[in-house]
Amino acid sequence: MRRLLVLGAGTAGTMAVNKLRPLLAEDEWDITIVDQSEEHHYQPGYLFVPFGWYRPEQIVKPRKRLITRGVTQLTGAVDRVDTDANLVHLADGTELAYDQLIIAPGTHPTPSETPGLAEPNARERGVHSFYTLDDAVALRDAMQRFDGGRLVVNLIDLPIKCPVAPLEFAFLVEAWLHERGLREETEVIYVTPLDGAFTKPLAAKELGGMFTERGIDLEPDFMLEQVDLDEQCLVSYDERVVPFDLLVPIPINRGAAFVGRSGLGDELDHVRVDKHTFLAEGLDDVFALGDAANLPTSKAGSVAHFSLDVFVENFLRHIDGLEMHERFDGHANCFIESGYGKAMLLDFNYDTEPLTGTFPFPEVGPLKLLGENEANHWGKLAFRWIYWHLLLPGRPLPLHADMSMIGKDRPSLPDPDPEAEQAPRRTSALMEVSM
């Protein structure tokens, strides 16, 4: 009997066992999945909790029911992986042997990485995140008490899971303030270490334009050193200060500590993997899936979903000693709630930045890429049902793993700037660089 062991029963781990169980003969392969929690959270739902759109019980289900029959489920924390002995040690002393291992413990907000954020009085001083269910509920209550002032959203550093959620929160809270009649007496400020609203140029431009329209102030190039709770302000490494009345920080994300203890991680404990096959560096029996892997693309459920399609094909070949020939292209597909009943959609991969256009069909959409409409908003809300009923069980969705260019507008080359042509020749041959 060969043993497949999966560490983590979140989006990626659950999909992996549900897809693989029917494909691996039960008398040849034992499949075991381990998680420290008996609950499964629909994490995209956290964003809506502060606004009262979702109640906590709508986004939590018992893990047990979400995993297919024929998979052994264990509850426990992982201490470390011994890749030489093919053994996983749990914190309670249990040893689990494996022939193939999938590491999928996700990535997690770690406020203790930032001075001030993890202090016991942080909430009292107006600091509330929404990246855990507990935090999202506390933020909901704090927002009920909020009566105007400076509301600051701070993306502290990348990578984070669901990298568009901070933007969504900014858009949603701006609309919510209108509804509450508090917009006039509130400044909304988005503080980011990036030089714009988003990393990719076209999206940064579109989203930056929406910030201006909505009167959201952007504070770019801000690398947070500490949160001063007494003074209620953010302080950057280059000593800029941003005061707040309500701060919504997105803490630094770290992978599971056991990844670091096992020598498999980068400096943030994300597993170093081949970005096309997810095989851990230097090993041929350890994979990392979902947010736990250090892929240079979004840490998002959609990436976990698309990568699983590639992974399953490859894994079946790999265990038969064949070469893995499917290659993941980094495909991500993210809705951005933009408030006022609308949303945007981004679709991109390792090589193609988010473009404008329609999705999935040219012209008719019905979803609009990198632009707002109501259909996108309903798409986002429908996704909770799709997640529980189609995605986690591993049922096929009508979306292809590889990104498609159909419906996307190809960016045209920028017109040559006539003034640039006439500019006096620079003394250095080096190009002028914007810093």
């Binding site: 990393t199 980068d266 190009m431 660089v433 810093m435």
Partner: protein, 104 residues
């Protein structure tokens, strides 16, 4: 991709002016690059640059600011003093490396 002649040799740049071939870099070129963005290199700059380059050669990608601090041991505060305002971008520029990947 622009090709320009600096210090009597050809170097390859991307659209933003960053070197595309780390092997075309040397200390003399670093001083040219630094001057182009208004920096004067000190021995400490060169230590930081040396780590960034060796880490890039090993890992295949430009180290992030976090990695410079966590693995290289250079305090973030100091990196901001050496490369004001945009340390990650300025460091990679002067070190002849690509900008660190903006993870999304």
């Amino acid at each position: 991709m622009p090709v320009v002649t600096v210090l009597e040799r050809q170097i390859h740049l991307d659209e933003e002016g960053f070197l595309t071939e780390p092997s075309e870099w040397d200390e003399a070129l670093a001083r040219e690059l630094a001057a182009n963005i208004g920096l004067e290199l000190t021995p400490r700059h060169l230590e930081v640059i040396a780590f960034a380059r060796s880490d890039q050669a090993e890992q295949g990608e430009t180290p992030t600011l976090r990695r410079m601090t966590a693995v290289g041991g250079f305090p973030t505060k100091e990196l901001f003093q050496l490369f004001p305002k945009k340390p990650a971008k300025k460091l990679s520029y002067v070190a002849g490396l690509q900008k660190p990947v903006g993870c999304v």
